[in-house]
C-alpha cells in the first residue's frame, strides 16, 4: 500500500480516495478505477474516478440503477465480470452492458467497500480487454477496497486530522500484523448502543479513540468488550477499572 502513500506525497496532501484509485490503476491490469458512495437511505453519488471512461461508468450505473457496482452493493459481494460481451449479462444489465462495451469497458470488477454491515460504497475497476483478475491481483484489489473503506468512513464521519490512513498497520483494522480480531467488530456493535450512533460512525469513533490515545485498536476493542472502557455520547470514554 506504499503506492497509495506515494500518490498522496506527490500531491503534497493527505491520502484520499483519488490516491487509492490512481494506485490501483498503477498496480493492477486495469485501465481505470472509480469509487461511488452507496447507501440504502440516501442517493448514491460518484466520488472519484481516474479517467473519463471510469467517470461515465460510475454515472451510468447510478443513473440506470443497474450494473456490477449496483449488484456488488446490494449483494455485499464482489461482482467480477471478465467479459461484458457475455450474452447472459444482457439479461442482468440490459442497458448498462451495451453502454459499457461502447465505452470500451470490456471487463469490469466491482468490489464493495465493506466491513460487515459497514458498506459505504463500491470500487469499480475496468479493463479494455476481456479476462479475469488473477488471484494475486484480486487480493490486491480487495486490499485497495479495504483502504478506500477506511478513508471514505473517516471523511464522512470526521476521523481526527492526521489519522494515519496510509499506515494501517499501526492502528488500523484490516492489516493488523497479527491478524483479524473479532473484538474489533464486537466493540463496534457495542459502541452503536453506548453512543447511540450508526455502525459506520461507531467504527470511526473506535479507531479515532485508538489513534488519539496512541493505542492499538485491538487493545481498545478488547477493553470495550471486557467492559473496562465505556463510551458516552457527550463525553470522553471512561475506564471502569480505575475507579477502584
Amino acid at each position: 500500500m506504499t503506492l497509495v502513500a506515494e500518490q498522496a506525497a506527490q500531491r503534497g496532501a493527505r491520502v484520499d480516495l483519488r490516491d487509492v484509485c490512481t494506485a490501483a490503476v498503477a498496480a493492477l491490469p486495469v485501465g481505470g478505477a472509480g469509487i461511488s458512495a452507496m447507501s440504502t437511505s440516501v442517493a448514491n453519488y460518484p466520488l472519484c474516478s481516474t479517467d473519463g471512461t471510469s467517470e461515465q461508468l460510475e454515472e451510468l450505473q447510478l443513473t440506470l440503477g443497474e450494473g456490477p457496482c449496483v449488484d456488488a452493493f446490494t449483494g455485499s459481494v464482489p461482482i467480477l465480470t471478465p467479459d461484458m460481451a457475455d450474452s447472459e449479462l444482457q439479461d442482468s444489465w440490459p442497458v448498462f452492458a451495451t453502454e459499457a462495451l461502447t465505452l470500451g469497458a470490456v471487463a469490469i470488477f466491482a468490489l464493495p467497500l465493506q466491513i460487515g454491515a459497514i458498506s459505504p460504497g463500491v470500487l469499480d475497476l475496468y479493463a479494455s480487454k476481456p479476462g479475469p483478475l488473477g488471484a494475486e491481483d484480486l487480493a490486491d484489489a480487495l486490499a485497495f477496497a479495504d483502504l478506500a473503506t477506511l478513508i471514505l468512513l473517516d471523511s464522512v464521519h470526521g476521523g481526527p486530522a492526521g489519522m494515519p490512513d496510509n499506515k494501517e498497520e499501526e492502528t488500523g483494522y484490516a492489516l493488523e500484523a497479527n491478524g483479524y480480531r473479532a473484538e474489533i467488530d464486537q466493540a463496534t456493535g457495542i459502541l452503536t448502543v453506548q453512543l447511540g450512533v450508526g455502525i459506520d460512525e461507531a467504527f470511526v469513533r473506535l479507531r479515532a479513540h485508538a489513534f488519539t490515545h496512541g493505542h492499538r485498536i485491538t487493545h481498545v476493542a478488547a477493553d470495550v468488550v471486557a467492559h473496562r472502557l465505556r463510551f458516552r455520547p457527550d463525553a470522553e470514554p471512561y475506564r471502569t477499572d480505575q475507579d477502584r
Partner: protein, 238 residues
C-alpha cells in the same frame, strides 16, 4: 465411538447442506457435533483470509476467551502449522509443547485444555482453513476419532464449495470473502445485542441464531438488518 450417533451426525449434516443453506449456522452445527461426537471440549472452524490470516468462522462456544485462543494461533500454534503444512497437527500432551508454542500453551492451559488437534481443510492442492479441536484431558488421540475429525473437516470444506455453487460463477476467493464478511456482520450484531440486553457473547449469538432459524432467514441477513435498525428482533427469546 457410538456408531449410531456417528451415522446420525452425518445424516444431519448432509440434511443441512441443502440449497440456500446458511454457512455460518451450518459450521456452528458442525462445531457442536465435533464436541458431542468426538469427546472434545471445544471446536472451531477457521478459514484463511486473503492475507493468509486465520479467522474463526464458527466455534462451539462464542465466548471471547475461546475466540481469543483461536485468534492467538495467527502467531503460533497447531492451526498455523496445520494451515502452512496442509497436514494434521496433534499435540496430545499440550504441556510438553511449551517450547514449541510458549504463548499458545500458556493460554490453552489457562482455559483448562490439555490436548489439541488441528485438521486441515483441503481443497485439491490448496489449504483453505483448519478444524481446531481442544480436549481438557491430555493423552493420545484415538486414530478412529482422528479420521472422523478429518471427515468433518472435509465436510466443512464442502460446505464452503456448496455455498459457492448456489451463486452463479463466483470463484472460491469471492466465496471466502462473502463468508468472512458474514462472520464480521455476526460479530457486530453480537456486540450490539449483548450490550443492549446485558448478556454475554454466546447468549447473543444463540439468540440471533434461534431468531434466524425461527424466521427461516440467514443469520448474516438478520445480523445486518438488526445493525441497520430495520430488524427490531421482536419476540427474541434469550
Amino acid at each position: 465411538m457410538n456408531e449410531r450417533l456417528l451415522a446420525e451426525t452425518f445424516v444431519e449434516l448432509a440434511d443441512n447442506l441443502v440449497a440456500d443453506f446458511d454457512l455460518i449456522d451450518f459450521l456452528r452445527l458442525l462445531s457442536d457435533r465435533c464436541v458431542s461426537l468426538l469427546g472434545t471440549s471445544a471446536a472451531g472452524v477457521l478459514f484463511a483470509d486473503r492475507d493468509g490470516a486465520l479467522r474463526v468462522m464458527a466455534a462451539s462456544d462464542e465466548q471471547v476467551r475461546l475466540l481469543e485462543l483461536f485468534q492467538l494461533q495467527n502467531d503460533e500454534g497447531p492451526c498455523l502449522e496445520c494451515f502452512h503444512t496442509g497436514t494434521a497437527v496433534a499435540a496430545p500432551e499440550l504441556a510438553a509443547e511449551a517450547g514449541r508454542w510458549p504463548r499458545f500453551t500458556a493460554q490453552a492451559a489457562l482455559h483448562g485444555f490439555g490436548a489439541v488437534q488441528a485438521l486441515p481443510m483441503r481443497l485439491r492442492d490448496e489449504t483453505v482453513g483448519a478444524l481446531n479441536l481442544f480436549r481438557t484431558t491430555p493423552g493420545p488421540f484415538d486414530p478412529v476419532s482422528t479420521s472422523i475429525a478429518q471427515a468433518l473437516a472435509d465436510v466443512a470444506t464442502i460446505s464452503l464449495l456448496q455455498q459457492r455453487s448456489t451463486q452463479r460463477g463466483h470463484a472460491l476467493n469471492e466465496q471466502l470473502q462473502t463468508a468472512l464478511n458474514s462472520r464480521v456482520l455476526i460479530e457486530q450484531a453480537k456486540g450490539k445485542l449483548a450490550e443492549r440486553q446485558g448478556i454475554d457473547m454466546e447468549q447473543a449469538f444463540t439468540a440471533l441464531r434461534r431468531y434466524a432459524r425461527a424466521h427461516n432467514r440467514r443469520l448474516a441477513d438478520v445480523a445486518r438488518d438488526f445493525i441497520n435498525d430495520t430488524e427490531a428482533l421482536t419476540e427474541l427469546t434469550l
